[in-house]
Symmetry: C2
Subunit: 311 residues, 2 copies
Amino acid sequence: MSLTVVGSIAFDAVRTPFGERERMLGGAAVHFALAASFFDEVRVVGPVGDDFGEDEYAVLRDRGVVTDDIEQVAGGKTFFWSGVYSENLNARETLETELNVFEAFEPKLSDASRDCDVLFLANIVPDLQIGVREQCDKARFVALDSMDLWMNIARDSLDRAIRMVDCVILNDEELEQLTGRPNVLTAAREVLSWGPAAVVAKLGKYGAALVTADGFFALPAFPMETVVDPTGAGDSFAGGFVGYVAAHPGEEIAHGLLTRAMAYGTAIASYNVQEFGTERVARLTPDEIAGRVADLERMTRFEDMPVALRG
Amino acid sequence: MSLTVVGSIAFDAVRTPFGERERMLGGAAVHFALAASFFDEVRVVGPVGDDFGEDEYAVLRDRGVVTDDIEQVAGGKTFFWSGVYSENLNARETLETELNVFEAFEPKLSDASRDCDVLFLANIVPDLQIGVREQCDKARFVALDSMDLWMNIARDSLDRAIRMVDCVILNDEELEQLTGRPNVLTAAREVLSWGPAAVVAKLGKYGAALVTADGFFALPAFPMETVVDPTGAGDSFAGGFVGYVAAHPGEEIAHGLLTRAMAYGTAIASYNVQEFGTERVARLTPDEIAGRVADLERMTRFEDMPVALRG
């Protein structure tokens, strides 16, 4: 079994109240792959430039991620993003986005990547997502991320892409924009009516919610004393979530499985934000993940005890 | 056993995307009392004017709320608030606030109100909260709500009031403002260090979180297809939460009890927002509350199943 992710590989420059980094490994596919690497063999499909070196490959390979389908574009530069976070980390401002090699990216999948059991289409041009999804025709579970930009400039393609996947993972505002519905529940149900069996709404510091035909599930973010750098948290969440599904090849992808997957995504995302970029997840251990999932189970469980209510 | 609440009794005028009301019964003490009335005998302490009539008293009395300590000020007018909600109900703008009889309010507690087992100090001037808290010296559980206004103009009194109660119930932004801490967890722990045994952070449409010395607990809001009018949701939540504690007189007020109390608060608040003002809660039934608590238990529970993680 294996898991393929297609998306951005980047260098990020960020400033947060806790410090800054001028050039750290990032990108949706990288954060996703590191998180998912705890569950399955992960193949990354995405472009880099000449500036992407052994140190960066090593971060992925040290976690067992297969980098054969990372396309190194001769003479090119790796995608670069820089941003600054607000004092309470609730908002961020993009300072610079240099697409570089990402601008002309055409995903090229090896046979091994195409044969994946599970596929994650990170946030890229919807037409590329469609092309990859069509190539990976054996995948039993395909999830997709996107952003407001594609809703604005490539709406038809995005709609087509969404109809081809099993699960859509978006922020709550993005879901509301996508559907024109005023809340997560009605927005998610609208998306379900288009084809996907599951919708995950990422709620930032408030956690995430899952909507399927079988119901609604919500999980808070793991409570943190200190968030050092939120960059990549959503992709780490997706990596843990989709990775957990990949780790259960024989199992029907039912509501209950996805609720557990949410807990693993939430746990790994919470480690991601404790340090800059990939620093914390790169040295994360299985025991640390399991510990935080167990904590989450305790922090969300209440046992109702019937009480005599006055009518 | 009995529960006393001190706070505002109001007429509200609201406009939401689903309609408007020019004059509906409202106020923190009213919403709180109706919600808490499912758990215990509730006494309301608060002022009204000549315009507060039998119809309004009837809403409270029909739910068994004791109105003897509602002070009808001759020649006065009842507190009036009007506001308009945004399209997605995430924001509201206050159009008018007429304090009227609330401006010179001095709580006058009967012996029965003073003898309460549980006390809720709704959002009023902190010095009045202190005075009432001192009178109710037998109360085994006292909770307090407040707002940014008092943090700005009566900070010392508010600090004193907080040190005299068992539980503080505030919005997450209010907690962060109160403590100067950047997130709910550190803000709540700061408040715990001042004396209270529990802090509840209301998170609006994202639910609520509880922090005690024994841990962290979070519960999402009940997912709604349609929110008609959010006015009073926070006070309904507090009424269900504090009411549940009042309904367990023999029990130690431990973390587990408060997590269950959160579920009842959340359930009742979710009914509150389905119609304008007090309309829905006024005809709510015990079975409806119990049903939604059971739904919440299902919607938040996941059973972790160990998975072999790749180290």
